[in-house]
Amino acid sequence: MASSPCPAGAGASPAVSITGADLRFGATCHFEGLDLVVEAGRTTCLLGPSGVGKSSLLRALAGLAPAGLSGRIAADDGRPLAGRVALMDRRDCLVPWASVLDNVMLGARLRGDAAEPERAAALLGRLGLHEALALRPAALSGGMRQRVALARTLYEARPVILMDEPFSALDAVTRYRLQGETAREIAGRTVLLVTHDPGEALRLGDRVLVLAGRPARLTEVAVPAGPLPRDPGAADVAAAESRLLAALAAEAA
């Protein structure tokens, strides 16, 4: 979209991949030899039951070297990923001592970059938070806090965005609205969104991958055509969701 907060020079969004990924805890092998490709400029939703290793894959891509996981991480432009990734967690991770505005600019402060309050305020404004700039996180509702976390993620202006169940702690209505806003804001970036909610994956994903089984395998699910965010009430989306739910339930049995 035209008002993309990604400034010139941030670079085009590369495809990122992890190949030959193994995840082991002691004698338990969650998966081995797994290849995950997150396509350039598109939103890939990674769906699967809790504890299957979705978050470990995401954290590996974030450069956090999660315990038990090994694999080769690369971007298709050959440059290292460090410094080109933004992470949004299921918890908002706002710092309680700083205002909403300062929370959004935390990354710039930690890197020693000049903070850009106008850009941060504009991002917050687009997410409906123009009146909350000076408030502390404790004064905000869960939905508002997660919006601030989204603004902070966007403020980082990174070509790759990793989201780990970003809406799982929200109530249904707030989640629905925030999904729509997020889809609008992250369009054009390389996004990996981990979720356990099939509806969310179908609403937000250009692609939907399912990680399930023991050891877990990745399978791609066909998604309905149409622009994001998809309307969960549309017949094809609803049908795809029930198919996906059935497949996941069968996998879990």
Partner: protein, 257 residues
């Protein structure tokens, strides 16, 4: 208001108990003077108590300042870098394990009978709680936040990264823990100052108590003790209120009810 009333009630009960003991046991005044005798000493010797109390207060406050700054610095060092931890930790533990009474004569020998040795003593006694609290606060940063910071600063080669992390993330996050350390410091700093005066001084409440004891002026000793207690409680309250104002997000919640 309610709190103050409760405090006064507790105090009144304590004085009543004291008076009852004096009535029943009738000890000679050089063993245990009654509340009235001590009140008289407080009034009659007001100027003397104020003069020596002021000296002790200066020692306590200066000791608080020096010890807290050193403790915060050492705590950051302990919490932030492994090398400093290996270097500093034995020193920090030793600073607490060696009884202050054992080093007090040395400090007086080195720093003299004046303020410096008392300030050193008070700093020494609060160094440990402040250091440990600060280091604890730094190392206990929410791991999710630490991850977030690592992703945010990844690939950034600008120097001073660790300092910025401490200033904008680890330091503020450690404030609630540090506040606990400073509260303990406010409560124990008077011990350091008085021990210092006890060992060798030319003034201060500890010195005054020692003199009064030698002359069997137990009423004056009690009066000095009361002045010291009032100062200690006031200092604690002041530090507590200051911390609440400086870091409202870190203020203690109401107790389990």
């Amino acid at each position: 208001m309610k709190q103050i009333a409760a405090g006064i009630a507790t105090l009144a009960l304590l004085v009543l108990f004291w008076q009852v003991v004096v009535w029943l046991a009738a000890p000679p005044p050089f063993i245990l003077p009654g509340p009235a005798a001590v009140a008289r000493a407080l009034m009659d010797q007001g100027g003397l108590l104020l003069r020596h109390g002021w000296l002790t207060l200066v020692e306590i406050v200066a000791g608080m300042a020096v010890g807290s700054l050193m403790g915060i610095g050492a705590g950051i060092g302990l919490g932030a870098t492994r090398h400093l931890r290996h270097l500093l930790l034995p020193l920090v533990v030793a600073s607490q394990a060696i009884p202050v009474f054992a080093v007090a004569p040395l400090l007086v020998l080195w720093l003299g009978f004046g303020l410096a040795s008392k300030i050193a003593m008070a700093s020494l006694i609060i160094f440990f709680p402040v250091t440990v609290a600060m280091a604890d606060g730094i190392t206990r940063l929410d791991p999710v936040l630490a991850d977030q910071a690592r992703v945010m600063t990844g690939g950034s080669a600008r120097p001073g990264r660790r300092l910025r992390l401490i200033r904008h993330l680890y330091g503020p996050a450690a404030l609630p823990a540090l506040a606990s350390g400073l509260r303990i410091a406010a409560a124990v700093a008077p011990i350091g100052a008085v021990v210092g005066e006890w060992v060798g001084a030319a003034g201060g409440l500890g010195w005054l108590m020692l003199q009064a004891n030698a002359r069997a002026r137990i009423d004056l000793m009690f009066a000095a003790l009361i002045v010291l207690a009032v100062m200690a409680v006031a200092l604690y309250r002041l530090v507590d209120a200051g911390l609440r104002r400086a870091a409202p997000w870190a203020a203690p919640q109401s107790p389990i009810s």
